[in-house]
């Protein structure tokens, strides 16, 4: 619309804001882009100085990420010509593929633990937040403060007691143990954020549903939950990002069965030291789920909270 409006931003301020956003996006995206590029470099290109921006791309990093390799004698190599394109890549270094690496398993662990703890945090957090928002709970303020206070020290400060406790309980290096741990850390954030969102939903909606013949739980499920979707989506993203990226506890408490990707990726050793392209390839793949999750929930995040149907 070309007509004058008191609230719509002017073309100039729009242009200015747009430029700022693009600039900021570029700056934050440079490291990401660098990691993605490195994943397609050869080990030599990856550590060359000055750094190479233009290079011949190779899938070596990805092959190394997903496989374990052994060195073989020339006789063996001559007797067994490479069958596939990825064997050919490995042959450059006189190696053959010995089997799959542990990356797949570790990645799956990350998915189970990350999404599992996010689901549990949101599930418990929503119920608790609803109760805090709607019911008269004795000492509600103190309880809320107590819940928040668990966030006041860095979680790693309690690493030793948790380590000992988990060993006693047999939770060390288990999926359940890690899910519980990340849920415990995330739940305070979830309760606080969600309580804010649920407080914003007028009670009249539930009251109307109660009168329309629904029980409180049904009213919660049919009326409150859909309207809290925005809040739930953004809270879920925060929870997932924490659980997904958590490193310190993962190093401390997991080593095998339940090890997540973050402690695994830096241990990928290539020829003569850390295999940077493989590490970068691992990091790139590792970024994808959070990205997909965030993009999938984007609509809810951007929609904002509109409560247009109540007359105040």
């Amino acid at each position: 619309m070309s007509s004058f409006s008191a609230t719509a931003p002017s073309a100039r301020s729009k242009w200015f804001a747009g430029t700022l956003v693009i600039l900021y996006a570029l700056i934050t995206m440079i490291p990401l882009a660098w990691i993605m590029l490195t994943g397609f470099k050869s080990p030599a290109d990856a550590i060359s100085y000055p750094p190479k921006v233009f290079f011949e791309p190779t899938l070596e990093g990805y092959v190394n990420l997903f496989t374990t390799r052994t060195r073989q004698t020339d006789d063996f190599l001559a007797a067994n010509p490479p069958q596939t394109w990825y064997e050919e890549i490995v042959r450059q270094y006189d190696m053959v593929i010995a089997g799959p690496s542990k990356f797949g398993e570790r990645f799956l662990n990350s998915v189970i633990i990350g999404f599992g703890s996010t689901f549990l945090s949101i599930f418990l957090g929503t119920l608790a937040a609803y109760a805090f928002s709607r019911f008269k709970i004795p000492l509600a303020d103190d309880l809320l403060f107590f819940i928040l206070s668990t966030r006041m020290m860095p979680p790693i400060a309690v690493a030793i007691p948790i380590f000992l406790m988990y060993r006693q309980l047999g939770l060390s290096d288990t999926h359940l143990g890690m899910i519980l741990l990340y849920t415990a850390v995330n739940i305070s954030l979830a309760v606080w954020l969600l309580k804010g969102f649920i407080d914003e939903i007028p009670r009249e909606y539930e009251e109307a549903a109660l009168i329309d013949g629904y029980t409180r739980f049904q009213a919660f499920y049919k009326v409150v939950l859909p309207q809290a979707a925005t809040g739930i989506a953004s809270t879920a993203i925060f929870c997932l990002i924490f659980a997904w990226n958590e490193y310190a506890f993962a190093v401390l408490l997991t080593s095998g069965t339940a090890q997540t990707a973050p402690p695994f990726i830096p241990t990928i050793i290539g020829v003569g030291g850390l295999d940077w392209p493989a590490v970068a390839a691992g990091a790139t793949i590792f970024l994808l789920p959070v990205m997909i999750f965030t993009v999938a929930l984007r609509k809810h995040l951007l929609r904002g909270i509109t409560f247009g149907a109540v007359r105040k």
Binding site: P202, A208, Y214, R311
Partner: protein, 331 residues
């Protein structure tokens, strides 16, 4: 349909007694209008009956059944909220279907469709059925929220200023429609309004609230002709009743401190001379603003007679209502 009985019902919020020791019987099939200034406790009364607030004391029964401990759903009532609260994530149609789909009613599909169409027709919102609830004007939202009550056939309808944001024509249409529904269904309706005409035309009974107390309950005619206090007399009637010192027209009636004169009870052509301040010609009738001994008096006049501001007019009281010093009616 059922009657509703409140016995000694009280509800306080902290220090405010929103409803205080209220006794009220709403007969089966009655259309009861609650009148009272803002903050008088009208909404709280409805919420208590609906079960959205718990009683501090007293008893509420619906259809002879004490419902104090029942949930809103068990009480089988429909309510139109003052803050009409449509479910914003649903369409208009889904909003109207919502009560019918409740586990308690569990209405068959074809019946739901029929009811929704029927109610949408009555409320003139058929064209908006597939709009999101947030894509409506205030008046449309209000009609949908009335519709959400009308799709059901509950024991009691509670309506909190349901027509307040509609234009004059729609308001008249719906007034007639609501009255028709009440008559044909024999529905029991408890209705809050600030609107004189709604109160006078729709009500079978009027309850006047003041500070959480029910100060008078009766037919609109009783309340109008026979109010038991200055307060009640001032709540009904447009223009308002003239409250004047008892001795303004000579000797005061016995014991009276004030007299109340409805505009139509100011007789012209004899008595004391009052000055005409202003003449309001409203078409079908004319209002005269008079001035007598420092008091303003409003009366009605023949629209064809020629009155001019500044002239004098002789007036005398006819059948005045007499009140004592506390404002209570004596005769």
């Amino acid at each position: 349909m059922a009657d509703v009985k409140l016995t000694n019902v009280s509800k306080s919020f902290g220090d405010t007694a929103a409803v205080h020791a209220m006794d009220m019987t709403i007969p089966d099939g009655a259309f009861v209008v609650l009148l009272g200034p803002t903050g008088a406790g009208k909404t709280t009364t409805l919420r208590l009956i609906a079960g959205l607030e718990t009683l501090d004391q007293g008893e509420i029964s619906i259809g002879g059944r004490v419902v104090n401990t029942e949930t809103p759903a068990q009480r089988d009532i429909a309510m139109v909220f003052q803050q009409y609260s449509l479910y914003p994530h649903l369409t208009v149609r889904q909003n109207l279907e919502f009560p019918l789909k409740s586990p308690i009613l569990n209405t068959p599909k074809d019946e739901i469709a029929r009811k929704v169409e029927e109610v949408a027709e009555v409320l003139q919102i058929t064209r908006k059925l597939d709009n999101k609830a947030t894509e409506l004007s205030g008046g449309e939202m209000q009609r949908v929220s009335i519709g959400r009550a009308l799709v059901r056939e509950p024991q009691v309808y509670l309506m909190d200023e349901p027509l307040s944001s509609l234009d004059a024509k729609l308001r008249t249409d719906l007034r007639v429609e609501l009255k028709r529904i009440q008559m044909t269904l024999g529905a029991t309706i408890l209705y809050v309004t600030h609107d004189q005409i709604e109160a006078m035309t729709m009500a079978t009974h009027v309850g006047v609230l003041n500070d959480g107390k029910l100060v008078q309950f009766g037919t609109p005619r009783e309340i109008y002709e026979n109010p038991n206090s200055v307060y009640v007399a001032s709540r009904l009637g447009q223009p308002r009743i003239n409250i004047l010192p008892a001795d303004i027209f000579g000797t005061a009636p016995k014991n009276a401190h004030h007299i109340g004169l409805r505009p139509e009870h100011v007789q012209q052509g004899e008595g004391r001379a009052a000055r005409i301040d202003r003449v309001e010609r409203l078409g079908d009738h004319t209002r005269l603003h008079l001035h007598l001994d420092g008091h303003d008096i409003i009366t009605l006049a023949d629209p064809h007679a020629g009155y001019t501001a500044g002239n004098e007019l002789q007036i005398a009281p006819r059948d005045p209502l007499c009140f004592d010093a506390r404002g209570d009616r004596i005769y």
